[in-house]
Symmetry: C2
Subunit: 189 residues, 2 copies
């Protein structure tokens, strides 16, 4: 566990290009041979380290409407990208994915797995009629997660978790209480 933790810290700090098994060994205070005994190369080590941080990242979704669940998941992802071990590694992972097919496959799989809960919540909400009919769950999930990653990676201001409900209102349409009672303008927020 010390080694996996050192792996993630080293990846965040040094980036993908400068990431070596040697630097992880030095950071963890273990011999290089100890690491090589379990991980044949740096890609396998990175994949194991990232996978081990996965499970701590899921908020409770009980007793909530589909919209509330979407809001919670969006707020959660925004918080994770604001400040977390994973957030520090994203740019290195993206760069590594561009260079190494195994890391690329891992990142896409990991990301699809993380996205699935949101896709399922949206699909469920469409099915029960709570969310707009015809809303494509995959496209809607990308429209909710995309802005958070975009702001984190391409802008000076990360996405503010307090705006999760506003983002949900854009993608899902306004909540019933804020809908105009007659035709005309669609949004009031």
């Amino acid at each position: 566990m010390v080694i996996l933790h050192a792996t993630v810290e080293q990846l965040a700090e040094a980036g993908y290009g400068a990431f070596t098994i040697e630097s992880v060994a030095a950071r963890a205070g273990v011999a290089k041979s100890t690491i090589y005994r379990h991980w044949p190369d740096r890609i396998k080590l990175i994949i194991d380290a990232l996978s081990s941080f996965h499970e701590q990242m899921v908020p409770g979704l009980h007793d909530a409407t589909a919209r509330e669940q979407v809001q919670r998941l969006v707020r959660h992802v925004a918080r994770v990208l604001l400040d977390s071990t994973f957030a520090g590694c994203i740019s290195a992972l993206i760069e590594g994915a561009q260079r190494d097919p195994r890391l690329r496959e891992f990142l896409h799989h990991y990301s699809a797995h993380r996205r699935q809960e949101l896709v399922d919540v949206i699909a469920g909400g469409v099915r029960t009629g709570e969310l707009p009919a015809g809303l494509d769950p995959e496209l809607a999930a990308a429209s909710l997660l995309g802005p958070i990653f975009y702001r984190r990676l391409m802008s000076a201001e990360p996405f503010d978790p307090d705006r999760a409900d506003d983002l949900a209102a854009i993608v899902l349409g306004p909540p019933p209480s804020q809908r105009p009672s007659r035709s005309g303008r669609r949004r009031r927020t």
Copy 2:
């Protein structure tokens, strides 16, 4: 221009970590000293190279409604990210921005500059009443661009430019012709 072109190609191919002035000189077939005469370091060279590719990337927006302009801009960005010199460099730029404050500032500035046209079109559409009142132009622009970058960087399938209109319908609401004439479900697409 040969040097700037070689810079972008080298960045796309080697990534940020392995990008050196030496490798650009070799690719361009010029002496290292020729490059150093104009660019004191690799960051300045990268910034100049990216800036020079900027202007070719803007579609015509004349004679179009705000929604049509949004659709064109979204489709254009989707095409650029699908296959362009810039697309090949994004992961290297993101990684470089994480490592170097000057590259970070450039990327954020460049990205804000590229986003501005979309923000202005949305703001204009809200002002004339064509787009929903209360739609936040900055948040809407991030909701339109974010999914395209997210799909390019974090998933196995890049965003399909043919779905630009669907994405615009999610963020701007459905076009008038597809709105239900009475209350009830908001989307039909």
